[in-house]
């Protein structure tokens, strides 16, 4: 869902994407910032490189660390001249997590967000989430907020394991 324009497809832009694919989320170190949908665009126009990133939750304490890690990776790969821009709009959504990212979350024991983000609704909890370990849907929510703002806490009634669910926003 990353917008592909001509300026994305230069050799250097592709090399920057490769570098960013190696930058892992500090809280969930199995998923890259690209697969999380945090890196929105890479432009290479008239010799000027521009990387556009977007924060997840406004108060996410990992945001600064992520920006720092991206900057450091770019510098280390020789892209010191790349300009990093933070963009709030359009607002980040879990719909931008790639299929590969979803598989990586699941392998890590975190149930990936299911379905598309919906509109605001009171009392409209998530339908039963599939357990990332045994795939059972006989699960229940323990708490709407888990170890971080982006996750809620669930329990599988089949394999009895508790697990985190990456909430749809």
């Amino acid at each position: 869902m990353v917008i592909q324009t001509a300026s994305h497809r230069t050799e250097r832009a592709r090399a920057v994407w490769d570098v960013l694919h190696q930058v892992m989320d500090p809280e969930i170190p199995v998923i890259s910032v690209v697969d999380l949908g945090i890196v929105r665009e890479v432009h290479d126009e008239a010799g000027a490189l521009e990387v556009i990133v977007t924060p997840t939750y406004t108060g996410c304490p990992a945001t600064k660390q992520i920006e720092f890690d991206i900057r450091q990776a770019l510098d280390k790969a020789g892209f010191e001249d790349a300009d990093m821009q933070i963009s709030l709009s359009p607002a980040w959504t879990t719909d931008w997590i790639t299929q590969q990212g979803r598989e990586q979350l699941k392998a890590f024991g975190i149930a990936p967000p299911e379905g598309k983000t919906g509109k605001r609704a009171l009392f409209a909890g998530d339908a039963n989430v599939a357990c990332p370990r045994c795939a059972s849907r006989d699960t229940e929510q323990i708490s709407e907020f888990g170890s971080t703002a982006c996750k809620s806490l669930w329990r599988c009634r089949t394999c009895r394991e508790p697990f985190d669910y990456f909430k749809c926003i």
């Binding site: 939750y57 108060g59 963009s87 607002a91 605001r120 609704a121 009171l122």
Partner: protein, 252 residues
């Protein structure tokens, strides 16, 4: 009153309300009834402080005097704060915190939903992020207000006391003054009065499920958004600002 820039004033109102409510929610860290709620309320506090950071950072840019979000948060006096008073009232018991969250977050999610269409690109972008977070807060609070209201005799009484205490302060969220009018006319802000009926409908629906009732409309205190506050704000700021006041150049 000196001439105020309505956009700067608006950013302060939005940012200060988020900041002060975030500080109140953070007071639950390590003190909530269960560990899950401790995490939930700390996450709520983070969302509010994150939103405050965005609004106040923008306020600093609008003002153009070199103040950043930290300068605005930590180096202003209570009478310079522009938050709605409902945010500054003491956290009270858990019922009080949840009823406030219900009243405020339901309002804020509706307000930000409309503010995504703002003619001001920065405010529209912040609203796009805040809208999603406030919807979560409203849902979480609604579920708890039902549990408490329709719970034991004691939890019902405490929830009803909280509704009675907070209800008068909710009206300030929907009042408009010259600053708001200027912003509404230019399409920067939505007119909150236009969705008050819809908001009331949602609140009443939750309270009905919770077997709680709204008190009669009586006094409707206001003034927080123009700098007139209850005594509670100064104490909150004293605690929140103590470190940057004592060590103005302190860095993490």
């Amino acid at each position: 009153m000196s001439k105020v820039d309505p956009l700067f004033e608006t950013c302060l109102r939005l940012g200060d309300t988020a900041l002060v409510l975030g500080q109140r929610l953070a007071e639950w860290s390590s003190k909530a009834p269960t560990v899950e709620l401790d995490i939930a309320l700390s996450n709520h506090a983070l969302d509010m402080i994150g939103q405050a950071q965005l609004f106040l950072e923008y306020a600093g840019r609008v003002e153009g005097k070199g103040r950043d979000e930290d300068a605005l948060a930590y180096h202003r006096q209570d009478f310079e704060f522009r938050n709605a008073m409902i945010a500054e009232l003491p956290k009270g018991d858990f019922a009080c915190t949840m009823v406030r969250q219900l009243l405020f977050a339901t309002y804020a999610s509706m307000f930000y939903e409309r503010m995504t269409a703002s003619t001001d690109a920065d405010l529209a972008a912040i609203a796009g992020k805040a809208e999603k977070e406030m919807a979560y807060h409203a849902r979480h609070a609604g579920e708890w207000v039902v549990r408490l209201g329709d719970g034991t005799e004691e939890s019902h009484q405490r929830a009803q006391d909280a509704v009675n205490l907070l209800w008068p302060y909710a009206h300030e969220l929907f009042q408009t003054d010259v600053v708001d009018q200027a912003m509404i006319e230019t399409g920067v802000l939505p007119d909150a009065a236009a969705f008050k009926g819809e908001w009331l409908g949602e609140i009443e629906a939750v309270l009905k499920r919770a077997t709680l009732s709204l008190p009669e409309d009586d006094w409707m205190p206001s003034g927080g958004r123009s700098g007139q506050h209850t005594e509670h704000l100064a104490y909150l700021l004293a605690e929140m600002q103590v470190l940057p006041r004592a060590y103005p150049d302190a860095k993490w």
